[in-house]
């Protein structure tokens, strides 16, 4: 049981982090708060992916050593390097995150210039009033 918890507690941490972001995205009225929640949510997912690439033991970054001599004559001990594939995927996801952030910020500024407020309920009120 203890073994199980040690092996899985960190997944639960990430899920908790994700849910903080998810809650902020849905419950907060302020648009910038929603964007902050979005950011937290996405980076927690990235953390989850990265944690799949971890190998316990004597592990280093996935940059091969002894690269200077010859053309890959060395047999690479894969247990010695972290799994590179999730890293690659998450590089993409980080960039997607920042791109979404840029567009969301631009839309937020458009909304503010039209309604002079960032609270969602006030915006809806001012739309109702015409």
């Amino acid at each position: 049981m203890f073994e199980f918890i040690v092996g899985h507690y960190n997944y639960w941490m990430y899920v908790g982090l994700m849910m903080i972001g998810f809650y902020a995205m849905m419950a907060k009225r302020n648009l910038i708060k929603k964007i902050i929640g979005m950011n937290i949510f996405q980076s927690a997912i990235i953390l989850f992916y990265i944690s799949t690439s971890v190998k316990k033991g004597d592990v280093t970054v996935p940059i091969l050593e002894h690269a200077h001599d010859g053309h890959g004559a060395h047999a690479v001990d894969i247990m010695h390097y972290a799994n590179p594939l999730p890293h690659v995927l998450m590089l993409t996801a980080i960039v997607v995150m920042v791109a979404t952030l840029g567009v969301a910020v631009a839309v937020t500024i458009m909304i503010y210039r039209r309604y002079q407020t960032l609270e969602e309920d006030e915006i809806i009120m001012s739309i109702r009033r015409g």
Binding site: G16, L17, I20, I32, K33, S43, I46, I50, M90, I94
Partner: protein
């Protein structure tokens, strides 16, 4: 990967995440979000994902924070929740 360090970093990440969504001053919230990104980046360095950590440090913690600060500067600093 060192377990106590991992624990401490995750604790800080949690504190930053909760603080970022509860603080009413938006500029502080955004800066705390920058701190959150930076702690995330430390966490990834510690998990041997050095490229991801570098990207997060340069993309999310710097440019992302700058964009958010721009957004707050162009709009309002106070929020109701």
């Amino acid at each position: 990967m060192i377990l106590p360090l991992d624990f401490i970093l995750i604790l800080f990440v949690f504190i930053c995440a909760v603080a970022a969504i509860t603080i009413k001053d938006l500029l502080s919230a955004v800066v705390i979000l920058g701190a959150y990104s930076f702690l995330m980046c430390l966490l990834w360095t510690e998990m041997a994902a050095i490229d991801v950590a570098f990207t997060e440090a340069s993309v999310s913690a710097s440019i992302g924070t700058v964009l958010m600060i721009g957004c707050v500067a162009k709009t309002k600093r106070r929020s109701k929740d």
